[in-house]
Symmetry: C2
Subunit: 111 residues, 2 copies
């Protein structure tokens, strides 16, 4: 079974609050990686300051159930309180083009 992909764009203003956001994201990630079903997470920051979503988290979970249990936990709710507006949702890969069209696996970055 392929993992579920959690994609969460964050509306963080490019006004110098990067350190605060990063510390909060790291604390949440440190918690989530102790939860059953967590696989990994990658936090992306926009190159340009005018991007609609300055940060986008892309994470892998073993199942939708494990993700929902983790983010519904009291521990996570406390950590997520006050975070910038964000739009988390679970996704499945439906099409690939380029280096990894046959395996469905994420693509290496060495090309």
């Amino acid at each position: 079974m392929p993992d579920m992909v959690l994609i969460n764009p964050f509306e963080v203003p490019a006004d110098g609050s990067d350190a605060e956001f990063l510390a909060g994201w790291q604390a949440a990630a440190d918690y989530l990686q102790t939860q059953p079903g967590f696989v990994s997470a990658r936090l992306h920051r926009a190159v340009r300051p005018d991007a609609r979503f300055r940060y986008v988290n892309v994470a892998l979970w073993e199942s939708a159930q494990s993700f929902m249990a983790a983010v519904g936990s009291d521990g996570f709710r406390a950590l997520a309180a006050g975070t910038a507006p964000n739009f988390p949702a679970l996704y499945e890969v439906v099409a690939t083009v380029g280096a990894d069209t046959t395996t469905g696996e994420p693509v290496g970055g060495a090309s």
Copy 2:
């Protein structure tokens, strides 16, 4: 040098227009993969119909310059006309948690 990550969330309604959107995305992807600097693309579809962004494209490009040249081309502009509202931006990975914290490479999905 790490690749640039293009992340583009699309506001496609979950009203049965999937086939039209997918055909349009595939046509654009088929064009983009002929352009210098394109590495790969993965199209994600939300599991739940109430997701704010039903589709999210995550693609790798060798550089910001190659991406900007490709999407600024007449060929791409023609293909992208009429697409659902979307918010493309280039990103860099700034933090990772879990399986791939040491390499910075995308994580395999086999765990």
